[in-house]
Point group: C2
Chain length 395, copies 2
């Protein structure tokens, strides 16, 4: 019995496949600093569990397929803070941002259709498009240019009659790039002109450090029929384990068809939706504090990385990742060596080789991604270990 | 911007599309008995919320993509009660049984591949197969034969070189059919001989009323490479809103490739997994009591239905549904009339027209599905209203 070609063509998560090495190192008593995964260490606001604990119905029943009205309304209130007016029938609550992406892709991709995505990109986009027979057309960016992709000519070259959408993680995982308002406007105009969707993965919306403005593709009325926003409470509220995300769109066709998918999987978890209501209603103060903390870590991490000889690293503008080029040939080999063979006072660091974030074969082999989701002390020590490791590895 | 052909070809849920009529009736003050949806009224065991409430970590973090070890182990203990020995790397915890079905189909379907499913069938199978370009080959069954499908010759006729799997809900939604051990063995032999998968949707496993034996396709060692079990705590433990299901298989290829899907969507909700552990560990007594209650309701509902003139209804053997043929031309028209125009002492009943459960166009137009998930009194009143309605409607 052969499996499907689509699933066989998919790779395992590049973030997860090195755990076997990390676990082996830990078994030997080595302490590993995890700069590899976007699991924030910021406390989940206690309001979440308070709301969950207060659930007192006899039956934990199905909720509505589109999401609980309370949860949808909480998200609408949150969007209104950023001047986006979504109605109840323009938002579907999903099992994390991941399901929102799966819904969006399932709605628009016919086998062979093309989705434009700047590379390096969040690797799960491979699966979210490939499982429906879609093809990613990567727009290559470079460490030396801070992974900037919002160049009209560059993007235009990627457009073909098969282009169904551009999919953008903004602010971006894995590079930390963030679009300016003008750049977003330019992308909206392209989408309208060439008649394709913008799948706006905005789960890091508030984490954009060099501006006070909170931007969203949902703010561009001229492209309201093109834009599909995928969102999540995971990073924003440090609630990754809740698995509550959403898809928002003013395109009625997309909403109606995504609802078929939502109905087929019945609903999202009831308790987590109840908890999510409290998160969306948190005061601005919460976002300000969280953003200030990540901004501080970004600066700390960036400056520490600058001190590594031979590194190529522009200052990222958003999210909580830094992708950079190391003075090594093969970052995967370096990582495995760091976990297997290197230690300083019994410690080493785990990061992600960036090759898996590229769609074009062979690119990114000397690049890595770090997540700055640890406290300052651990973050600095983690980067120091990379520096020490590099010195020894390059001998 | 055109949407994908696959999604456009899908219908909305036939269970959900009549709510607009029910809501209109309720707005006018009519009381509606909901025999239309499989939402059990049995209390969710309090152990679930107790475990959830006791969660006291600072960060609600991602759990493992395959599921929390504690949850996997609890399910393994549960399977062992039924003489099924699954290892930790043979079970993936999923977002409800729905996601398990999506994973199974994504792993095996190439566009154009065929999945054999007895009709009438759980309609969401349409989407779970169609979204990957799969084609359902229905094996037609009849009310007069109790919707029995486990006939070797009948099944063999449906097999073609494109057959990738047979997908069986056993005990079955919407018909309440249940396979005997011999019938399961026959299907296993067919799958092995013709080299296709058995997708065994066994979320109603314990609800099989005329036997003390608990059967599963996981008990047939000879077909262990063919069998993919999709499962859920929703119906078994009256915990539909938890969205915890699973996929179990001894086929290493299927497991490894389904893990790609699991990793891409990161994980299942942490709190609900913690709650699910307590459910799988409930003593046998819980299942016995729940089964006895549903068995009683089955008998009550069946006997009440028998008294309706012109009905065709064999006694179902499992799950908590009855599908039957009514003496009407068009059950959809009858339902809409029941909600819009009929009432007895201000009350009416909602059920599901069965046409949407058939893959073959035109079949099932005079059939309906009832779920016996209400207490005896409400169940009897709901069926009485159908009887009264039918009398008036047929005039």
């Amino acid at each position: 019995m052969k499996l499907s070609k689509q699933i066989m063509a998919m790779a395992h998560s590049p973030v997860k496949k090195y755990y076997v090495y990390a676990n082996r190192a830990k078994m030997r008593g080595k302490k590993i600093y995890h700069l590899n995964i976007g699991q924030p260490d910021i406390k989940t606001p206690p309001e979440f569990m308070e709301a969950v604990r207060s659930f007192d119905e006899d039956v934990l029943a199905y909720s509505a397929s589109e999401g609980m009205t309370e949860t949808i309304d909480a998200q609408r209130r949150y969007y209104r803070r950023y001047h986006m007016d979504y109605s109840r029938s323009e938002i579907i609550i999903t099992n994390g941002g991941s399901e929102a992406l799966l819904f969006a892709m399932a709605c628009i991709i016919n086998p062979g259709d093309e989705i434009i995505i700047p590379e390096p990109y969040y690797t799960n986009y491979n699966l979210f498009t490939g499982i429906y027979g879609g093809k990613i057309v990567p727009v290559t960016t470079k460490a030396e240019e801070g992974y900037h992709y919002a160049d009209k000519n560059k993007l235009k070259k990627a457009i073909s009659p098969k282009t169904k959408a551009i999919c953008l993680c903004n602010p971006g995982n894995p590079t930390g790039t963030a679009l300016s308002k003008d750049e977003m406007k330019m992308i909206c105009d392209l989408a309208v002109e060439h008649d394709f969707f913008i799948i706006a993965d905005e789960v890091y919306r508030e984490f954009c450090y060099d501006t006070d403005e909170i931007l969203s593709f949902g703010q561009f009325e001229e492209a309201s029929q093109n834009v599909i926003i995928t969102d999540s409470i995971s990073k924003r509220f440090s609630a990754c384990g809740a698995r509550i995300g959403s898809m928002a769109t003013k395109n009625k066709d997309v909403y109606e068809n995504a609802m078929k998918l939502a109905q087929a999987r019945l609903c999202c978890p009831t308790l987590d939706q109840i908890g999510a209501v409290t998160l969306y209603d948190l005061p601005k103060d919460f976002f300000d504090k969280t953003k200030a903390e990540y901004n501080h870590r970004r600066n700390v991490a960036y400056h520490a990385l600058q001190k590594i000889e031979g590194i190529v690293c522009e200052k990222p503008r958003g999210a909580f990742y830094i992708t950079c080029k190391l003075p090594v040939k093969d970052a995967e080999d370096f990582l495995i060596w760091m976990l297997d063979d290197f230690e300083d006072r019994g410690e080493s660091t785990m990061f992600v080789p960036a090759e898996g974030f590229y769609g074009t074969p062979g690119l990114g082999r000397d690049e890595i991604r770090l997540a700055y989701v640890l406290n300052e002390k651990d973050l600095l020590r983690g980067i120091e270990l990379i520096k020490l490791g590099l010195k020894e590895y390059r001998r």
